[in-house]
């Protein structure tokens, strides 16, 4: 319990210290802020690893109350509690480790930024809220962490607030996430309605006593309560995990500093949605239709993001869409009840995606801030270490054997095959394979464009190209170790049964997988790599001709199938029109004009009119007096008598 609390609260201490230094604008104290945040994060990461070891090996659950929060009555009280099972422990370990690496990397990347203390404070706060989310024992507390993560991401994406695009991107992320938050709220309210509780262990206990529950919408229309709750939570998870439809904020979030992107994509933000699905897996098992929806959404996202990723020019956007696509895999795994596989992919993905992002940061650093891949090329000579690390990360991402991504992705694809064999559709499996192919292709497209060929940058930039300093390399090397070995080291552990202790116990069916199917993902990945290499090294001219021929199509794909444009036309424009109409015609034209302003005008006119009664002439005063008196006497005479 104390260890769990330490993991949770130590990053907040670091954040507060750095925040205070930033608040009082003590530039000379910047070093203190850096040191404190990194040390806090390091301590937290070490304790989290120890905690994970304890929880997983000893198979015990840490569960305790910290403080009373909303005491309603004896049976309904909401408390601040900690709940650490193997799922939380693994999440906490991954989050703190990746976050620690990102913290160290930021020291180098953000060197010279005048508000680095603020940046470090936000990073630690972000981590704290994510830990708060994964360690909470009830939905309300989880929701607080959920909102805190949203808030921190807003602060970090808009860190360079003097840039308009950064402000717009941070707001986009925040507003898109509001939709998911609404889903979360509905889900929590649904849980309160059905289970009379928000505590996750309590809901799990009560679930067995409720076979079916319904929400009555009208007299004739009812909805299955579990379906409703699960759909609500699914919407929440979709927004946080950037699934198709609510993914629009993720590419734009690249406006933030690169370490932020790494943190968002690897550990703290987008994994929250997948975490929610795994945490509430017992509920989703009661809503099979929602599970199918999860598979469909995951499949669409995986394929869509991979295709869009092919056409991106910006190095960070390629990796961003790749994240989107990998999250699709995790959703598909959740949809076919392979929660362990989803969690496993989440862990391995955290390592290689953080590695890729930090490497991309190094490339951008080397290129003096240039992010357009078309203006890069031939960098492998200048920054060999980064080159090697990008290779490792890409191999892991593509799922080449021995690298981390292979084990988790292969497992997911096998599960999808098993799903097809059990009577489900084969399409998810096919989409998974195609996405794997595309993943390999765009990864090597990135490598070819950035590191090979001729450098297309101008002289000034070229003369500046240099390898990143040690402080940026060391975290990457550590992450690379994770990207290589985390798969092979953890595969046995994840495939062992009953990983998600305390949760619904699934019968994870062992399928007989034909040899061909086992080899197929590797073949697909290798062919993707081969195709990319051949296209970008030998057939470049042909590619250019093809791109010109299908200019319109490629432009649409590059813009992410014009989803943004569609939203702009379908929602934003009409809403703006409605807002402007309500403001000008209803608020100003009707309510203000005849309400407050009209009344004020009436009073001032009345005031002006009554003023004329005060002539200053005594005769008039006397007349008014006598007239009033006559009225009163007349009333007495006529009415009363």
């Amino acid at each position: 319990m104390i260890m769990a609390a330490a993991v949770l609260w130590i990053p907040l201490i670091g954040s507060c210290v750095a925040g205070l230094i930033s608040f009082f604008n003590q530039r000379t104290m910047d070093d203190v802020a850096k040191l404190v945040t990194c040390m806090c994060m390091g301590v937290s990461a070490l304790v989290a690893l120890d905690l994970a070891y304890d929880v997983i090996i000893a198979k015990k659950i840490v569960h305790g109350e910290m403080l009373s929060w909303i005491p309603l009555d004896d049976h309904h009280k909401i408390t601040w509690g900690l709940y650490v099972d193997s799922l939380s422990a693994i999440m906490a370990a991954v989050v703190t480790c990746v976050s620690f690496m990102v913290h160290i990397y930021s020291l180098g990347y953000m060197k010279g930024d005048k508000s680095i203390a603020r940046f470090m404070s936000y990073l630690s706060l972000f981590t704290f809220f994510m830990l708060f989310l994964v360690m909470s024992d009830d939905l309300l507390q989880l929701f607080l962490g959920w909102e805190g993560v949203g808030l921190s991401s807003y602060l970090l994406i808009g860190f360079w607030f003097h840039k308009d695009s950064a402000n717009a991107a941070s707001m986009k992320a925040f507003i898109t996430n509001r939709i998911g938050d609404m889903g979360m709220v509905l889900g929590i309210v649904g849980c309160i309605a059905v289970f009379d509780s928000v505590s996750i262990p309590e809901i799990l206990l009560k679930l067995t006593t409720f076979d079916e529950a319904f929400f009555r919408l009208t007299d004739h229309l009812t909805i299955n309560a579990y379906t409703f709750i699960c759909i609500s939570f699914l919407i929440g998870a979709m927004a946080k995990s950037a699934q198709f439809g609510l993914h629009v904020w993720l590419p734009d979030a690249m406006e933030g500093p690169t370490p932020v992107s790494a943190l968002i994509h690897a550990a703290t933000m987008v994994t929250a949605g997948v975490f929610l699905l795994i945490r509430l897996s017992f509920l989703f098992e009661y809503a099979p239709s929602v599970k199918t929806a999860i598979v469909v959404i995951g499949a669409i996202t995986a394929l869509f993001a991979a295709v869009v990723g092919l056409f991106q020019k910006d190095i960070k956007r390629v990796i961003a869409y790749s994240t989107c696509s990998q999250l699709g895999y995790m959703f598909m795994a959740c949809g076919v009840s392979m929660y362990s596989a989803a969690l496993f992919h989440l862990v391995t993905h955290a390592f290689f995606k953080a590695l890729l992002f930090l490497s991309a940061g190094s490339v951008i650093h080397a290129m003096s801030g240039e992010q357009n891949m078309r203006k890069m090329g031939g960098l492998y000579k200048h920054i060999p270490v980064t080159y090697a690390l990008v290779w490792i990360g890409s191999l892991a991402l593509a799922g080449i054997p021995l690298f981390a991504g292979y084990y988790s992705k292969d497992w997911i694809l096998e599960s999808l095959y098993g799903y097809a064999m059990d009577g489900g559709s084969i399409i998810p499996y096919i989409i998974g394979l195609s996405s794997a192919f595309l993943t390999a292709f765009y990864s090597w497209r990135l490598i070819s464009l950035v590191f090979h060929g001729d450098c297309k940058a101008d002289e000034r930039v070229q003369s500046h190209i240099h390898e990143a300093p040690m402080i940026m390399l060391i975290p990457k090397v550590i992450l690379a170790v994770g990207a290589v070995f985390s798969g092979i080291a953890l595969v046995g552990f994840f495939t062992s049964s009953q990983l998600i202790s305390g949760a619904y116990v699934f019968t994870e069916i062992e399928h007989h997988i034909p040899g061909l199917i086992q080899v197929l993902p590797i073949m697909v990945a290798l062919s993707g790599i081969a195709l990319a290499v051949s296209v970008y090294h030998t057939q470049r001219n042909k590619l250019a001709i093809w791109l010109v021929r299908f200019k319109r199509a490629s432009a649409i794909i590059q813009s992410g199938f014009a989803v943004d444009e569609f939203y702009r036309k379908a929602f934003i424009k009409p809403l703006q029109w409605l807002g402007s109409f309500l403001y000008h015609h209803i608020e100003k034209g009707l309510i203000d004009r005849y309400g407050p302003n009209g009344f004020a005008l009436f009073i001032s006119r009345l005031s002006g009119a009554l003023r004329y009664l005060q002539t200053g002439n005594v005769r008039d005063y006397a007349i008014v007096m006598i007239a009033g008196l006559m009225g009163m006497l007349g009333y007495v005479v006529v009415v009363i008598k």
Partner: protein, 492 residues
């Protein structure tokens, strides 16, 4: 001998004391100390009332001494004492003889005390005239100012008209019931007669004039503006408190439990129209005292709501309202008086233009703060004491189910809040302009001896128990004596 004059000892002290002050004024030697002598007289008078005769009727039913009369007399004397103590060092700035001024105030209080305790319509009239003559004199005290004279003449003519109405009403009542004793009229009027009804309305109208209620309100702004500020302060508080006391006495007597004479609609209409005038017209005023005059019409209307349905709670609410409002208004006027730097009689009419207050908080923060506290209190902002009487009256009329009155009361209160806040904005947010008052020439530390107690009194609202104690122990019993006093029990 002493037993004979004991019931009217307070009035005697004031009357002979005032004469003494007048005489001593002739000798230049004592000039500077006479105001202190007046203050001593007021204190003596309070002591005489507190230690005075037991409650009852004296001089063949001519004079009543009760909790009610005692409360009002002490209130009058305390207000006057407050004014004397606070303004003794300010009076030199005005072109008037300050000793004559204090003598007139003392005579005014004599008249007021006679009115409060009178039980006979002619005695009441005598008191009213003593009080009114003193008031007219106070208004024209600034002899060389034509504005002062204009206001005095207006006040005198219209006041005479009110006296005429009163005498007409009194003669009607005498014609109807063959008596001028109030308690006998009260007993007789229950039988009902048109002549008696007309007479009672006429008699009450004369005092509605003194309170300044619609449609007898038009003298108020003119007189407030024209009179020198110390006189305005006396007229707007002492005269008003007296008039309210008499109105309460008459209405509770004549209309309480009177099936034949249902005057609720008359008083509702007067209250509503007064509140509208008091809420709407001040918005366009540019002179401070005129503004206060109009707003006092609104306050008078607000008070009158408490007596539309006659009940102890309503009467005690009105007593609380008039006392607290008068105190606040007096504080405001004293504060305005202390803004004056030097003697400039010719500009008397313009010396309190609202534009002069622009940016006051920057040049004279103490004054601005004091004025802001007073205005907020008059607007009825908790926790200042002005909030509580408003609350009491609103609570009372809501309990009585007077929804029409409630709606108007609330709307007009909101509007009045606007113009009070407008002045606070003028003082605190606007910048000083050319017309604004400059930084004080001679900083007078004695001012703080006035301001600090004034602010403390205003902030008494933060400590409700003390207000509650006063209300329960003194105000409510006073109201009860008034209602119960209408029974014949205490009369021999």
């Amino acid at each position: 001998m002493i037993e004979l004059i004991k019931p009217i000892l307070p009035e005697m002290i004031l009357f002979f004391g005032a004469c003494l002050v007048l005489l001593l004024d002739v000798f230049q030697k004592f000039v500077d100390h006479l105001m202190n002598l007046s203050s001593v007289l007021l204190v003596l008078c309070i002591v005489a009332i507190v230690l005075g005769v037991p409650d009852g009727v004296y001089y063949h039913n001519l004079c009543v001494i009760s909790m009610f009369t005692g409360l009002f007399k002490i209130a009058l004397l305390t207000l006057a004492l407050f004014q004397f103590l606070a303004t003794s060092f300010l009076m030199d700035k005005y072109a008037l003889n300050k000793n004559e001024h204090s003598v007139m105030v003392l005579f005014l209080i004599v008249g007021a005390c006679v009115m409060v305790s009178a039980n006979h319509l002619m005695l009441l009239y005598v008191g009213m005239e003593i009080q009114a003559l003193a008031a007219y004199t106070l208004v024209v005290m600034q002899r060389k100012s034509e504005y002062s004279a204009e206001a005095g003449v207006k006040y005198f003519i219209l006041g005479s008209l009110a006296s005429v109405l009163y005498l007409l009403g009194a003669s009607y009542l005498y014609g109807a019931y063959n008596t001028l004793y109030l308690h006998e009229i009260i007993t007789a009027i229950k039988a009902g007669s048109t002549l008696g009804g007309l007479g009672s309305i006429l008699v009450v109208s004369a005092f509605l004039f003194k309170v300044g209620l619609f449609p007898f309100h038009q003298w108020v702004p003119d007189v407030y503006q024209g009179a020198p500020t110390p006189s305005t302060s006396i007229i707007s508080t002492l005269s008003k408190v007296t008039a309210v006391a008499v109105v309460l006495k008459l209405i509770c007597g004549l209309f309480y439990d009177n099936k034949s004479l249902d005057t609720r609609w008359i008083f509702s209409a007067i209250a509503i129209l007064s509140m509208i005038v008091g809420a709407v017209v001040p918005i366009v005023q540019t002179h401070m005292k005129r503004f206060l005059g109009y707003s006092s019409i609104g306050h008078a209307g607000f008070m009158l709501m408490g007596i539309v349905n006659i009940h102890v709670v309503g009467v005690s609410s009105i007593i609380a309202y008039v006392l607290i409002y008068s105190l606040t208004l007096m504080m405001t006027l004293i504060c305005l008086m202390s803004l004056k730097d030097k003697r400039e009689p010719d500009e008397e009419r313009n010396d309190l233009e609202l534009s002069k207050l622009g940016g006051l908080s920057q040049v004279r923060p103490k004054h601005a703060f004091m004025l802001a506290v007073c205005f907020l209190s008059m607007a009825g902002m908790p926790p200042l004491i002005g909030f509580f009487p408003k609350l009491l009256i609103l609570q009372y009329i809501i309990n009585q189910g007077q929804m029409l009155l409630t709606v108007f009361a609330i709307i007009t209160t909101v509007i009045s809040l606007f113009y009070y806040l407008k002045i606070i904005k003028l003082m605190y947010i606007d910048m000083p302009t050319k017309q604004s008052i400059g930084i004080s020439v001679n900083v007078n530390m004695r001012l703080l001896w006035v301001f600090i107690p004034a602010v403390i009194i205003q902030l008494l609202g933060c400590y409700i128990p003390i207000l509650q104690t006063i209300y329960v122990q003194y105000v409510t019993p006073a109201a009860e004596t008034l209602i119960i006093g209408t029974n014949e029990k205490i009369y021999s």
